[in-house]
């Protein structure tokens, strides 16, 4: 009998594993039983195996100069099929609406003309890129990849915290977490029907190929990375490797007459699609930051000429601006004539003086976010902040009310997490990943569940000591997921089984006699 859950006490937040009465929720019953049979010592053995696996594969991140194995918590997070279908549809719906919004604001701006979203909001957004106006992506897609951050509130519903439409990262950890879990805890999988996540790179490649400039039959796709010193470099090599495409740095690319080439041993080779993991700011020194050394001069013009597709498209940041975020429900009804399936977290627009004053009065109860930030940079959590920080935030809000939004604190749900000598509740979020190939938006069944490891903390970013969990989306019970149809090949059902392999020579009789023949000093 295990002792892992002996001291587990859920706090007031929604707990993923236990209901209010402390009974395991139905999706967790099997997992709960399995955990009960494990002792702290067994669990420790698995943890050691996990660390070794990550370290050997080089899946590490550096925390204050030290290489550490990627922090995967071994208790998975389980999402039942019903809940997943809401998330899946909700995320896809959002991506479709945001896609339409981007294509609108970078062309006619109908939504602005109709007054649904104030024109000034878009034109004052720092991430609105004028050079992009008039670029029409080949298959109409600007958001090839999206990561939508979700949290589960105290009522058990999922809320959207923010959209990431620029270079959302984390999918490599989703896939590696799953692989490592299957190796370290194989027996947990046998009693669950968990949906697979590893088709993501293939889907992404399909979407990137579909986005190639018109008339290119066999497009050359590359992944553009800032380089080995980037904190997400592992993900860049992972995706390039899993897609079988070249991973390039800015210096490997060259533009001539508005065509992008990569320098190879066989001469310059034309590039059709660039999946870039570099910010807009650094992408092209001719258009954006002129001191950028990691970009490719001329790539923006090449894109304007339709000679190369940049994915995700430039200027997407205008749609994941935190203030624009507050209008996403309006976009969904404006463009799609649908009700939003996933609600936003209550957010205050500080440009409105009433809302600003309301927020200023409740500095210590709200969360403040810079509108153009990503990855948790610049975030101020009111209840956790000190006097000094709050004072600084007040000044910042007053001097730049367009630059900030205020949000209600969401009591993130908790999940049993291995800390110290047992399992304790820790707060988690969820980032599902969507791929848009122009035909449909596909959401990978899973996602990155991030864990805030310090007790009570609500900050899940790995740069701030966050961990992660393998996210199990369960297949609908009773039905197996449909097999993908691929009727290319012949197949013979009643083949005789293969003959057994050649057993090799056997010399038992001789062996016996060799043993009988005793040699040696008598």
């Amino acid at each position: 009998m295990g002792d892992l859950l002996d001291h587990y006490e859920a706090d007031s937040a929604w707990d993923e594993m236990f209901d209010e009465a402390g009974r395991p929720r139905s999706a967790y019953t099997v997992l709960h039983q399995a955990l009960q049979t494990l002792s702290e010592e067994d669990f420790g053995t698995r943890c050691a195996a996990r660390d070794r696996a990550f370290r050997d594969q080089g899946i590490t991140f550096s925390l204050s100069g030290e290489e550490r194995p990627f922090p995967l918590d071994l208790v998975p997070r389980v999402i039942p099929a019903g809940e997943w279908s809401v998330i899946e549809q909700g995320v896809a719906q959002r991506v479709r609406a945001l896609e339409m919004f981007l294509s609108d604001v970078y062309s006619e701006g109908q939504i602005l003309a109709d007054g649904v979203i104030p024109r000034s909001l878009v034109t004052t957004a720092t991430q609105f890129r004028r050079p992009v106006v008039g670029i029409h992506p080949a298959n109409g897609v600007r958001v090839h990849v999206a990561g939508v951050d979700l949290v589960r509130g105290g009522d058990g519903r999922f809320y959207v915290l923010e959209d990431n439409l620029r270079t959302p990262s984390g999918i490599s950890y989703v896939i590696e977490n799953r692989r490592t879990m299957a190796r370290v805890f194989p027996e947990l999988f046998t009693s669950h029907r968990v949906r697979q996540v590893d088709s993501y790179p293939a889907r992404l490649l399909e979407a990137l190929r579909a986005a190639a400039p018109e008339g290119v039959a066999d497009p050359t796709v590359v992944v553009l990375t800032p380089g080995v010193h980037n904190s997400a470099y592992f993900e860049h090599t992972f995706l390039a490797g899993q897609m079988g495409v070249e991973l390039v740095e800015g210096r490997d690319l060259v533009c001539r007459e508005n065509v992008v080439f990569m320098r190879s041993t066989e001469g310059d080779q034309r590039v059709d699609v660039v999946y870039r993991r570099i910010d807009d700011d650094y992408l092209d020194p001719l258009h954006f930051r002129s001191n950028s050394l990691i970009g490719c001069p001329g790539i923006v013009n090449a894109a304007r000429f339709g000679n190369v597709t940049i994915a995700n498209a430039m200027g997407n940041g205008v749609a994941d601006d935190k203030l624009v975020y507050t209008y996403v429900p309006d976009m969904i009804s404006y463009y799609l004539h649908e009700e939003p399936l996933l609600p936003n977290v209550g957010t205050y627009r500080l440009e409105d003086t009433d809302q600003l004053h309301y927020a200023l009065e409740r500095l210590d109860q709200l969360v403040f976010k810079p509108v153009d930030g990503s990855g948790g940079h610049g975030l101020v959590i009111g209840p956790a902040a000190g006097e000094e920080e709050l004072a600084r935030t007040r000044d910042a809000l007053l001097s730049d009310s367009r630059g900030w939004v205020a949000q209600e604190v969401v009591q993130l749900s908790t999940s049993p997490t291995h800390v110290g000598g047992g399992l304790q509740p820790r707060h988690i979020d969820l980032r599902p990943f969507a791929v848009n190939d122009g035909e449909r938006v596909w959401v990978a069944p899973g996602g990155l569940t991030r864990v805030a490891l310090p007790e009570g903390s609500l900050v899940v970013n790995s740069s701030q000591g966050g961990g992660s969990k393998d996210t199990w989306v369960l297949a609908p019970s009773g039905s197996r997921p449909a097999r993908p149809a691929e009727a290319v090949h012949v197949y013979v059902a009643d083949r005789p089984p293969s003959p057994p392999p050649d057993p090799g020579p056997a010399n038992q009789a001789q062996q016996q006699q060799q043993e009988e023949e005793v040699e040696g000093p008598c």
Binding site: T45, R46, A49, R178, R179, A182, R183, V184, F185, P186, E187, F189, T190, R193, V194, R195, Q196, D198, S199, A202, L205, E206, R209, V221, G241, Q242, M243, G244, V245, L474, A475, R480, P481, A482, R483, P484, A485, E486, A487, V488, H489, V490, Y491, V492, A493, R495, P497, S498, P499, P500, P501, D502, P503, G504, P505, N507, A509, Q510
Partner: protein, 315 residues
Amino acid sequence: MLSRIAESLYWVGRYVERAEDTARILDVHIHHLLEDASVEEDVACRALLGVMGITDASDPVDINRVTERLAFDASNGTSIRGALVAARENARGAQESLSSELWECLNSTYNSLPSQVERAARAGPHAFFSFVKERSAMILGLTEATLSRDDGWRFVVLGRSLERIDMTTRLLMACFGEPCGPSEWVTTLRSCGAHEAFLRTYRRPANASSVAEFLLLDRLFPRSAFHALGVAEECLAALEPRSGRAGLEGKARNILGRARTQLEFRSVGELIAELPRHLDQLQAACAQAGEAVALRFFHHTKAIEWSLEEAVGHT
């Protein structure tokens, strides 16, 4: 060199390759089975056993049973453990023709089998498969680094290549015996350690014909049937140099050369259209080549047992 030694070296090559390939196949398939909710465990497990020519009467067959039979069963020459025991047994009788480093590596692999099997019971089978893959990589490395390129080395390489063709063929048979989706093709490629090489070559997701093309016909990938056939042929060519001006004398070389040309001059479309037949032929060619090698080089003298009764009977 002595026929007996040659035979042992040949079987060292075969058994080590068999252990490695089986470990690769199991490692990938077991985790695929665990991770993919849409796979029928019983069907997939039977297919896996079928690869090694085992039909299991028990019902249903589960992962544990498959790992037991194909990985840990010491009494069975087709299991990983059995193959490694047999490889070491063959090496023991040919120690003086191997380098001591190679012998030591084979022997220490054998020695640590019980503890590795025990560890797998605690830490999951993946630990065991990694161990096997690591050790076989070491054995292969020592073969390349410490053996002269003489006939002894050639017999090791010949055995390894024939086994490799045989295993690749088996794997493909299992895959094409069932309707497969993209994730099965990835699994097939992974089992041959070929997924990344494949992606770098084709730069697009796997499908039936590209996987068949890569694993059967690719000229550069060392685990493709075509490549392994070529290596085996080279070994045989060096083992029995051509004597006359026309034709070939070596029967094994003849068989392999024909099998290679059967693949080489066919388009993928033609291969796919009749894949089961081609795979059967390839496997038959492997078996025949094995027999021909034994006949030509190993000169089996059946241990002669003098029997008094029979002698009396003839008079």
